[in-house]
């Protein structure tokens, strides 16, 4: 039972990550590979505020969210100058830079040792599951509202034909920055939940392969489909657990996971680039 609760919490956290990344990749057509950076900023921000400054979780997560959003304004402004391939590459670069900050700003982040003893807002795992699911549900409602609003329609228009929507007087760059910052904030929320749930974080959780993993979730589920992202999170969180039951040693199992994600991306690109229930093809 405890094990199922654990998986449920992970599904909730990755669900939030998937939903927020889908706002960028699926709805706006911005293939960002730097989501783990904001996930990490949220986790580190919340963890440090709780451990070092003694803030409560309820104050720490909004602050962490703001921190990530601030960082995303800077990163988003630089990224807004690029398109397609170069956008991917530059976002790739920001993930490496932020990861290297986590790893090397030892006076703040304690480097590879990580931060331990992060408090939880609720003691039992079951209550934490309910908390995560509540946040996940609110995120889903928010994303649904956002993508169905006129704002969301502009995003899709940017994705489909940026030039055309500019002719109608919409400033695509503003919209792209706004959605980038929104997605970063939601990723930071997931990070705060993760830090508080595991009670320990270190830089290795927030590297490039985590960004690729989140990308795999939304591509599997389907781009521009919010329920698809949730389904993707369920599938990809549960998948490695099956590998665990097959009985690989833990180090090999971790690599098998990566292998399967990579394979999944390749197979999807070859045979079903829109994912399971996607409404947009890359």
């Amino acid at each position: 039972m405890e094990y199922l609760i654990h998986l449920g919490i992970l599904v909730g956290i990755y669900g939030i990550l998937g939903l927020s990344l889908n706002l960028l990749v699926g709805f706006t057509g911005l293939l960002s590979v730097t989501h783990a950076a904001f996930y990490g900023l949220g986790a580190y921000g919340a963890a440090l505020l709780m451990v070092e400054a003694g803030w409560s979780f309820w104050l720490a997560w909004p602050a962490a969210l703001l921190l990530a959003m601030l960082a995303s304004v800077l990163i988003g402004l630089v990224l807004s100058r690029f398109r397609a391939d170069y956008y991917v590459l530059a976002s790739f670069g920001f993930n490496v830079i932020v990861f290297s900050l986590f790893l090397n700003l030892q006076s703040v982040t304690r480097g590879p040792l990580g931060i331990s003893g992060i408090p939880r807002p609720v003691a039992s795992n079951l209550s934490f599951l309910l908390l995560t699911l509540a946040f996940g549900f609110l995120t889903y409602l928010f994303c649904r509202w956002l993508t169905r609003s006129s704002f969301g329609r502009v995003l899709k228009a940017i994705r489909d034909d940026e030039g055309a929507i500019q002719v109608f007087g919409y400033r695509a760059a503003h919209y792209k920055l706004l959605i980038f910052v929104t997605a970063a904030g939601l990723a930071a929320l997931a990070g705060a939940l993760y830090a508080s749930y595991i009670t320990f974080i270190d830089p290795s959780t927030f590297n490039l392969s985590e960004s690729i993993f989140i990308l795999a979730i939304i591509i599997l589920g389907g781009l521009a489909n919010l329920r698809g992202s949730l389904a993707g999170a369920v599938c990809l969180v549960l998948l490695p657990e099956i590998l665990r039951f097959v009985g690989f040693p833990s180090e090999v199992a971790a690599q098998m996971r990566q292998l399967v994600y990579g394979l999944l991306l390749v197979v999807l690109m070859l045979h079903r680039p829109q994912g399971l229930v996607g409404e947009y093809k890359l």
Binding site: Q258, G262, L265, V266
Partner: protein, 285 residues
């Protein structure tokens, strides 16, 4: 002791490796027209092939090294045949190719870690004899890297004069026109992929001799190759060479000012500065 000559030496060594990788990456990019993010992992596979053959199977290094180069070439060829070529045939967008390449990179990295474990491995110390040139200390391996980069540059330059080289130029300039004039586009692409894969394999082996191998090394190698190629100016071999040495210098003088851990961040700052202010790179085509 004055530190500058050694810094120059380190810049030249690092730069030679980056230049070698960037030459291969750039050569590939000219024809396939997308950032093949699996390029670094192919280099890693070349290095590990030599590790398996020489350390585990006990083969002489003079046999193992060519096998490693060949492994890089064949792997790149196989990936192109099974993944990128069908995608191109379907006229998939570059983003699809990029995501597929991310997948390939993840697969290769995980496969290497499963087969060889995530432990750091070194190839051999027999080439670590030290030579002093102009106040800086170089190992023989590092001089081999420098020679490899320069020879690759010359070889790619000479290739342009051959019939194959001219066909490659034609395909890189305009695939459709090349096809209309009767060039076998896919065969020429395969030749490019094989060559680029061989260069990657060679670079991976040299890294194995110089610093050592780990499954995740491909990512770092890829990033350095891309950064050097873009900084130098995508599409020109001279740019790749120049960008490689510039990146090596910026990194090493950056480390001197800050510290070693910031190497990757410094490299990326250089990339982002270039992408923002001079996206066409230093050398124009």
């Amino acid at each position: 002791m004055d530190i500058v000559p050694q810094l120059v030496a380190n810049s030249v060594i690092a730069g030679a490796l980056y230049a070698l990788l960037a030459l291969g990456f750039n050569f590939l990019y000219r024809t396939v027209k997308f950032f093949d993010l699996s390029y670094g992992a192919i280099a890693a596979t070349g290095g590990y092939t030599v590790f398996a053959l020489s350390k585990l199977a006990g083969l002489s290094i003079w046999l193992a090294a060519p096998a490693g180069v060949l492994a890089g070439a064949l792997l790149a060829w196989l990936i192109n045949l099974t993944i990128y070529r069908p995608l191109r045939a379907r006229r998939a967008s570059n983003l699809v190719l990029l995501v597929a390449a991310l997948g390939v990179m993840t697969i290769l990295q995980a496969a290497l870690a499963i087969i060889f474990s995530s432990q750091f491995q070194t190839l051999s110390a027999s080439l670590s004899t030290v030579v002093e040139i102009a106040g800086g200390v170089y190992t023989v391996t590092q001089l081999v890297i420098l020679a490899a980069a320069l020879l690759t540059f010359v070889a790619l330059h000479l290739l342009k004069r051959t019939r194959l080289g001219k066909s490659i130029e034609a395909v890189a300039d305009d695939v459709e026109v090349a096809r209309i004039t009767g060039l076998k586009v896919e065969r020429i692409t395969s030749a490019v992929v094989l060559t680029a894969g061989a260069i990657a394999g060679l670079a991976g082996i040299l890294v194995g001799f110089d610093t050592g191998l780990e499954p995740t090394m491909g990512l770092a190698l890829l990033l350095k190759a891309v950064i050097a190629a873009i900084v130098g100016g995508l599409g020109t071999a001279f740019g790749a060479l120049f960008g490689g040495f510039l990146l090596g210098a910026v990194e090493n003088f950056g480390i001197w000012q800050f510290s070693g851990e910031w190497k990757d961040a410094i490299a990326f700052m250089l990339l982002i500065v270039f992408l923002v202010f001079r996206p066409q790179g230093l050398v124009r085509r």
